[in-house]
Symmetry: C2
Subunit: 120 residues, 2 copies
DNA sequence: TACGGTACATACAATTTAGTTCGTAGTTAT
DNA sequence: ATAACTACGAACTAAATTGTATGTACCGTA
């Protein structure tokens, strides 16, 4: 958790307030986050499925990211209250609207990566 | 011939997409980074000017971000070798191509922020 | 009886990032 | 004479993120 009155936290708040761009970037900040969103946009909605679809992610990180995204209003958690447990995550409207933007970002990233990866 | 909707092809697509995307997100990662890019896109090219345009940024962070962006191939540093020193930073082609994507991200962020900032 | 599957929680350690402070050198303005 | 401006560099501290290792509860299967 972020301390309330550190310069670090202050700056984050200032940036989030200052404009839509910094707000968006702060939201996307956090490893695995876009991968989770991407999976949800593909119809992969259960914890275990997402986990299996993101090689390398730990259970803690997945749990944390899902919570983050829920807090931020990008996804909704639906608990079916069954045994064994079944929980589904879905993108909200805001989350869905982000997907095409991520696609553009993805295209740009793929292109730039090709151009700059000459050294490898 | 590879089937269009085989699991293999789907997975490959997902991986390619998520790779370009995660690559892009990693590039954007780092506080103040998009602010610097934004300033450069508006024709604010000198260290001091950028610093004055980003309230709260420290000189160390600005220096660091400029270096990062240069390494990543998004900006170029031009030293005029004068006294007092004059250095200009400019977006590369890759950097310029990112700007419209950032605009979309900005619009999305502004919209989402309005919707979710009821508490303020 | 022991294990695997479900979806997490919690304590802790390691790593990375962000921010503070002080310093450089030459020139110009007060 | 002193301060400010230019664009940084380096050492250091504070804070945040990420990862690891464990435990939880319930059920079905072998």
């Amino acid at each position: 958790m972020r301390k309330e009155n550190s310069t670090n936290a202050e700056n984050q708040k200032i940036l989030e307030m200052s404009c839509g761009l910094t707000y968006a970037v702060e939201l996307l900040n956090g490893r695995w986050k876009v991968n989770v969103i991407w999976n949800l946009s593909k119809g992969i909605n259960r914890y275990g499925q997402i986990k299996r679809n993101i090689p390398g992610i730990s259970e803690k990180m997945l749990t944390q990211r899902l919570k983050d995204l829920e807090k931020e209003g990008l996804i909704i958690r639906e608990d079916f209250k069954t045994v064994p447990p079944r929980v589904e995550y879905h993108l909200t409207e805001a989350g869905k609207e982000l997907v095409p933007v991520l696609k553009k970002l993805c295209n740009w990233g793929a292109k730039v990566r090709k151009e700059t990866s000459v050294s490898f």
